[in-house]
Subunit: 416 residues, 3 copies
């Protein structure tokens, strides 16, 4: 490959890295918008720490667990602690499809890794102990995510079998979703959510913050999917842009129609989650689909959202931000869609997709459940009832997210 093509590829992969990075702000904004005012500092603190710890542990162990470079077709491999750079600061590793440096490879994958843990963060919001959460996510992103990731992207047994997951509907999104599901089963619902009088909505404290989050996630998804081409290949990256865009748009429309049908109202949170559902849905096959396929996949994902939210509520599985519906349910849908649509479709492919979904789901759910169970049995995972009522911002951080107006302040009449 020529120097200039290598450089163009590497520039694109670094731009994609930056775009995936900003998804972490998207998650932080979305989740803090969807929780109550008294738990906002807690969410922001958790999400700042998750990405930081996640990046460091991925450097320490995750990257070499996910890409062991040995054990092709295997279940597990580990290339040792820390990063190595085979050819010094300017070392280049060329890949079949394009080319970028060792450092680019690491940093792009590291940005991906932390997203799986962040998905959990929203689902367990407003009631989990900070310490237990940080221990959980550290181990989840350092060990569980890279092991199942290796099965496909590290040339492991699912890859050998023909399982297809372009940018991670299963490897990233449903993994985060399974972790979230295990956690909320053990954690239980927020107080006052499921009462004798029925299911009580607990509205989020700031819709603008939630909307900012969703638009930033959509924005970052161009790097998430577009970077998963692993080169700047003009035809593939631009096709991925088109399918990603159309699926997100169709997801909004699907959720709009389905939620109007179900609730007879124009529900902003459903439409926002519809966008995300469409994005998660297209992720597994964004490089395979035609525009029409992409619209259908996104539209169905959008329709799934309100039904899935209602289903989890009926099961009394309390998820303040809808992370399980968006990432788990639409992640499964998107992975199956590869066996239904796309040039690789076929009966055999659908079975392979199902095997991948179940294998990764089983491993992740068991890992997350066992870890959370252990934490529950030892240091505890849930704050006290008093702390939950008071809010985690005061209980865990001794601060408020917003300025509190108080009677008697000199400028009360102006400031309130």
């Amino acid at each position: 490959m020529s120097d200039s093509l290598f450089t163009a590829n590497n520039v694109w992969m670094l731009v994609a890295t930056v775009l995936v990075f900003i998804m972490h702000l998207g998650f932080a904004a979305l989740e803090s918008g969807f929780v109550q005012k008294k738990n906002v500092v807690n969410i922001l603190f958790k999400n700042t720490m998750i990405i930081s710890i996640g990046l460091l542990t991925y450097c320490l162990v995750g990257f070499n667990l996910m890409y062991p470079g040995v054990n092709e077709g295997g279940f597990f491999g580990f290339a040792g602690f820390g990063l190595s750079n085979p050819e010094g600061a300017a070392g280049l590793i060329e890949y079949a499809d394009g080319g970028y440096t060792y450092w680019t490879d690491f940093i792009f994958q590291a940005m991906f890794a932390a997203t799986a843990a962040t998905i959990v963060s929203g689902a367990v919001a407003e009631r989990i102990k900070l310490g237990s959460f940080l221990i959980f996510t550290t181990l989840f992103v350092a060990i569980s995510y890279p092991i199942t990731g290796m099965w496909k992207w590290g040339a492991g047994w699912l890859d050998a079998m023909g399982f297809y997951d372009f940018a991670g509907s299963t490897l990233v999104h449903s993994v985060g979703g399974w972790g979230a599901l295990a956690a909320i089963i053990l954690l239980g619902a927020r107080k006052g959510k499921y009462t004798a009088d029925g299911i009580k909505p607990i509205p989020g404290h700031s819709m603008p913050l939630a909307a900012v989050g969703v638009f930033l996630l959509w924005f970052g998804w161009y790097g998430f999917n577009g970077g998963s081409v692993l080169s700047a290949d003009p035809g593939l990256v631009s096709l991925v842009f088109v399918t990603t865009t159309l699926a997100a748009a169709a997801g909004a429309v699907g959720a709009f129609i389905a939620s109007y049908g179900l609730f007879k109202s124009h529900d902003l949170s459903m439409v926002l989650n519809g966008v995300l559902g469409g994005l998660v849905g297209i992720t597994a096959g964004a490089d395979l689909m035609t525009p029409t396929d992409a619209i259908i996949i996104g539209f169905i994902a959008g329709i799934i959202i309100p039904f899935s939210v209602v289903m989890f509520d009926r099961l009394k599985l309390d998820d303040p931000v809808g992370a399980t519906s968006v990432h788990l349910v639409c992640g499964i849908w998107g992975t199956l869609a590869v066996g239904i649509f796309g040039s690789s479709a076929g009966g055999g492919q659908l079975v392979t997709q199902l095997i991948g979904i179940l294998a990764i789901g089983a491993f992740t759910f068991i890992f997350a459940f066992a870890l959370m169970y252990l934490l529950k049995a030892t240091i505890g995972i849930r704050v006290s009832e008093e702390e939950e009522i008071q809010g985690l911002d005061i209980a865990e951080h001794d601060m408020h997210a917003y300025e509190i107006p108080f009677e008697g302040a000199v400028d009360f009449s102006l400031q309130k």
Copy 2:
């Protein structure tokens, strides 16, 4: 062209696409910041749906209306429904100035298209019916915008005539502005705005949100103008960056001075709109101007803003976010400026620019007025007085944008 140059061009066009995408968050933030707290969910809902519907309709009809590939020098053409891809998933179409794929061409143009409709959204805020608005914008972006866009960018009659509009001061911004003007004439002002006691300001509910919006729009404008080079040509793209930047900065300074002169106060909303005015102003000739030209064009645009806002208020045309001043008035100014400054300047050019402004303005205004009139005569375009007082968030969406503190809540003293 070499593979590597083609790849670099295509990377730049895709980055520009991503930047134009985030302008939609800019519009959503700006508009929701400038409306009252009771109408915030409505704005966010509308802007999420506009971009989604706009992208889908552009895929279905808009792109092939705007770039029919036939009827050169004509008024109308249509290449059929849906997208086609002449050379498969990796199909490449090389253009004279650079080169990028068919998919890149579509997705960059699709991001542009929805902006025209979004401009209308702010002007009609706080009183329009959701359903009528969505029908209006769907048809506006699917039919009206591409037809006038074809006149210039689709090699139509205005292009043949020598009309110059580099990135859309007229084709995008004034088109959105004309749509907004037609809509607010038919819609009428918000209750309580123009009273017997004079014009009553209705302040926006969140200046930080509005400022976030303006900075994101400025950010995205580097893709809007920089991508309109249609290649990564180093000299042209970097010149466009310089002229765009200086015009925005000069717009802020112009609005600062003019609004201080007019109102004797340091008005944040005027300065923010001054930035946008400068950006709209430079858009028609961003590739032609010297730095000095750009500063003058932006500075004048900034000065125009407060005068235009006062003018529309005197005409009792109520525009909560100043969209008509920013996009219509400064769009006209920027298009004329191409005939005054720049290497292509000359008396003949000024007349041609005027013809383009008037032709596109007349078509768009008539289309928008007729459509809105029809909606008004049938399903109605304005919410009831009661709904307007209550706010559209409750009336149309049955939810609040922010957490409501209420007496008797266990944690009221902490949460308020």
Copy 3:
């Protein structure tokens, strides 16, 4: 160099420019989040004007002061007012390490320049007069920043001596920090901050806004550091991405641990400033460090943050956003770290780094102190006690940042 490599380099430098631009939104959001609700419009106004004025003055004088192209090894040079373009609109200037156009060179450097002034903005918040602030920052960014910048990046005497500052821990961040220090010494603390009863915290009004700001700054830092490679060199840019990322993450962890040790609470503002401290710390040597070096440098920067904040408070130097701790103290740390870590480390290097820190610090502090002193002696720099209590939003701008609920409003019960 081939056309396609030149194009790829130029694309990367323009993307980096856009990323540095959005840091200004990061600063605006961070600073407005950390101030009281009554001073938010003022911060947004100042930050919108700083970048605008800064870009224009950098075009007028700053760029040609910083890169005079003469006086190699000297203290001062000036290439004349305004921009010149040696080879017309498409003029290309190739540099040793890569290549990009004259316009790219200017616009990337212009985005950097305004950051130094923005750093001051946060430290002096909530009590400085708007007019004095704008005069101060205009002269600071037009004259002081480019002169010291020239000493290193303009091939001046510090460059000749071997001083190393890759992306500006000293040239940008500590320069902003010294300006801030001079200003807050002369300005005095906010009323009620240091009382007979001890130091009273004045909490910021919106933690989500502050968090949005920090994530956007981290995002933009990939352009700040990555663009400072001055080409798209794959090995160097990707290494810079890795070191920048790991230092930011380690900064969060360092601040988490140190602030828990000091205050026994999980302090969000410390963790956010820890991220920024890590980023400032790595900036001087981001292209020299191994991943392990980067983690150590960032971790120490994170630990520094809470101690530095306590120290400034004990000295009764009131800095509402912690800008002096982040930019000055961690800027010094990062510059020294180049003499301790990295391939260029050595006893001699450490002394050279110290000389650079002291020389630039002395010039900047004296310039800023003298200018602020002059303003204090003439037009005054501090608002009246009454205005400070009332808030600068009303005193200087006659508007509120947020909608004010008021008794008797028809929709009070819904809107509050």
